[in-house]
Subunit: 240 residues, 2 copies
């Protein structure tokens, strides 16, 4: 693991870019010198880790007291993609924007992406937990499908916050029943890209005894700011 | 308004019984001497204000910093009921316990109860806001149907937390569309007495631009303790 840049922000958060083999990542750590519980933060459907909404969420969470990491997993974000991958991605965007049925193209685009992303996240987790400034137990926040995959195979993940569970590949809809860690699931009531009933069905399917759904009004990017605070307190209950 | 007893608790909360004409009530106020925003707390379906779960909720909320009031409204709690009222109430309990369809008996039992309760709550609100230790804006917490009725007719109510919206009389299901204040609605996912889909439909129906649903696992009495904290913070956003 190589840190390639470091910047101390006004709120005391240290923001460092790193590479881990082919994986580019960012680590945000709070000012405090004691090891902070680690939260892995993944953006839905392979959007880049440099995307401003993810960065804002990561910075706020680090300022609150967590170590936060985001990566561009294989074929995600700024990582290279095959011509076939690019075509499926374009097909998916086109179908979504046209309001067409996207199940099959979603499955062929996101299904393999989740399979490829999970090992990169585990590699990153190994490296991050070896640092003195991060500790366990580990939380996960964001992209529902990758979170389900990781929670199913990675016992170090102790609690997870999921966002926008309307479209999730078949494999992860099945895996949801096997998830037993505490969950906080966010649902935007009128999320144009995430059918409400499917998200409710997914919430119902999780095997966790402690799972909470927070639904708010508005579209995909309209999650109210106070949900960030609620998320931090959710992690406080399970990672502290 | 006559205070008939006063008790200072270990957490500093002053707990006072009062009567206001025929209305018996309890007022919990925090230790601080400055006027605290008032929260009206009503128990579902006319259960008594002395019920331990309501009392615990009121005390915690007062210790947090709010003035909290509960009353036994007309025909609720320990107030006298007509023989006809007692029969409908018994019919309702029997139908619920037997798992029978309760819509009609619910309507004939709860519909009139809500109509009779609302004026008593408004009378109480007038009296409470005249006290130096309480202030506005006012919050409401608890019984969904009475809360809808009050929010529809009482402009002093600025935010409301509703619980268990599975069965709500027709009149209040209609009124829900006219409610525009910020709402926090709690749903127990497997509440035996409150069909989930009806609660979701009610949440959808509210006219409020800011409304949040918190759903948790378990039955009617299983709401996790952290929802009390979340409720306090919801009121902080709108009453402070």
């Amino acid at each position: 693991m190589h840190f390639t840049s470091a910047q101390r922000r006004d709120d005391g958060v240290l923001e460092r870019e790193f590479t881990l083999g082919e994986i580019p990542g960012t680590l945000w750590t709070p000012e405090s010198a004691t090891p902070a519980p680690l939260i892995l933060m993944a953006h839905n459907n392979g959007l880049p880790k440099r995307e401003p909404r993810l960065v804002a969420r990561a910075r706020t969470t680090a300022a609150y007291g967590y170590a936060v990491a985001a990566i561009d997993a294989a074929a995600c974000g700024d990582r290279p993609r095959s011509a076939a991958d690019e075509r499926t991605r374009a097909d998916f965007r086109r179908a979504m924007q046209a309001g067409e049925a996207v199940d099959e193209v979603f499955e062929s685009f996101i299904g393999p992406l989740v399979e490829k992303a999970a090992p990169d996240w585990r590699t990153t987790l190994d490296a991050l937990l070896a640092l003195p400034e991060t500790g366990g137990p580990v939380g996960y926040s964001g992209w529902t499908a990758v979170g389900i995959r990781l929670a199913a195979i990675e016992p170090r993940i102790a609690a997870a916050g999921f966002f926008a569970g309307g479209y999730v590949p078949r494999a992860q809809r099945e895996e949801a029943r096997r998830i037993t860690i505490p969950l906080l699931m966010l649902l935007q009531w009128d999320d144009e890209g995430n059918p409400r009933q499917r998200a409710l069905d997914l919430f119902d399917a999780f095997g966790s005894r402690e799972k909470t759904l927070h639904a708010n009004m508005g579209g995909h990017t309209g999650t109210p700011w106070f949900e960030l605070d609620d998320g931090n307190r959710f992690f406080d209950r399970h990672l502290r």
